[in-house]
Symmetry: C2
Subunit: 289 residues, 2 copies
Amino acid sequence: MKIAFQGVPGAYSELASRGLFGAGAKTVACETFENVFEAVDGKQTDRGVLPIENSLAGSIHQNYDLLLEHRLHVVGETYLRVEHALLALPGTKFSDIREVRSHPQALAQCSHFFAKHRNIKPVVWFDTAGAARSLLEEKPRGVAALASEYAGRLYGLKALKRGVQNEAGNFTRFLAIARTPLSPLKQRGKHPFKTSIAFGAKNEAGSLFRILGVFAARKIDLHKIESRPNPASPFEYRFYLDFAGGAGEPKVKAALKELLALTHDLRILGSYPRAVLPKAAAKRASRKS
Amino acid sequence: MKIAFQGVPGAYSELASRGLFGAGAKTVACETFENVFEAVDGKQTDRGVLPIENSLAGSIHQNYDLLLEHRLHVVGETYLRVEHALLALPGTKFSDIREVRSHPQALAQCSHFFAKHRNIKPVVWFDTAGAARSLLEEKPRGVAALASEYAGRLYGLKALKRGVQNEAGNFTRFLAIARTPLSPLKQRGKHPFKTSIAFGAKNEAGSLFRILGVFAARKIDLHKIESRPNPASPFEYRFYLDFAGGAGEPKVKAALKELLALTHDLRILGSYPRAVLPKAAAKRASRKS
């Protein structure tokens, strides 16, 4: 199995790919999200893995746009806890560190660390894993990187500190995409399925209420709802909806059929086994928040 | 009027502050979003201005979290078109440019430019305006920055190219916050108001349907809805809702009263005049997409 992901080896997306498809999967690093879709479309890889939302930074609309542009199918999801480790070349002591390289968002997520250690300078880098790789390539003295421990192992670095980020409860949700949807037969297994759809609706009072009535009438649980303004047409909204059940189940089929009359450009992005947040991680997040 | 914003002078947030409060307002640069809240809380400034959602990158949940932690009120909103200009020191020609500094997100938003000009190297910087300022401070040769034209004017730079970003339809929505809410009297003016609320609800089939029924029954238009998973408690959701009308209007008051029984931790973030996207900008976005 070949999996396309965006970033350099050691990126959080590659870690999510391994979580979804096992350590034996062959991962292929792509420069952009668009390249991930092209790799799957063009059969260079079997699957693609994309971040779709983060618990602090929100939904990545750009990847929803790409899902709508390309005719690929969501076949899986996973949650990954964003946990930055302070990585350095072996032999480096914490007291040696004068500079820490990482992506600006990761540096911002670790602002409490920098506030506490005023003698350590944050230095911006293109990505977290790239910052880790630069240590192996350049072997600079007194320099560390903030990235996953996974990136650290890949580039032979030592974790001087773990969980450096301010917030314990920072999760990213990743989707797996493929050229063919999961078979409706698989949707009848023991593991509960979920379905992601996107649609347009008129901006008029009660339109969303009527749409949700379709699900309420069938006691279908909703897992996510999000409206997205359309800058090109302020009186139209696009919605993203995730709900319980697979598109092959009779009550979901009936709901989707009824939805056709209430929406436009309805698109089933995919039905796939529902992932749950690891309990220990959720508990830790709850304690800290 | 003193306005706190996050970033260095010339940041898009400062540009949004000027759009909301005029060129005469005194803007105060803050290091973090939290510092913006602290500046308003601690009466160092009269208002704060925060990005809350971007048309490509989604809602900034972190700023919703800060709105819920602090007891401040939303008193205004504005949309800003994200338009990156290629800025250089006066006398620099486009053919001289070998390196372009900016925030990684801005560099990614201009990937088509770098694909076309392979001899120009993108260099990461902490923020767009900081990249512009670095040209004035260091006066490096053959180096440009990607930031707003506003940042360019501030640091005496020339715009060699305008609208360098791939997508014309990239907008950020900003909110203005203050210690006291807008008076209900002001909510009866000619300009239509909108109200932002946040609440928690049980994750059970039909709960959101019943909540939206409160608005549908009163023909209140919804402008935004978003669910946010709670990593600490996967069976609870938090919702953000924006709808038409001010919290002082009788039908809005009645709706909010009914909502108390259907939700928990209901919080009125503020009622404020509704901003519209500039038409010309929306048209251009529509042509390109």
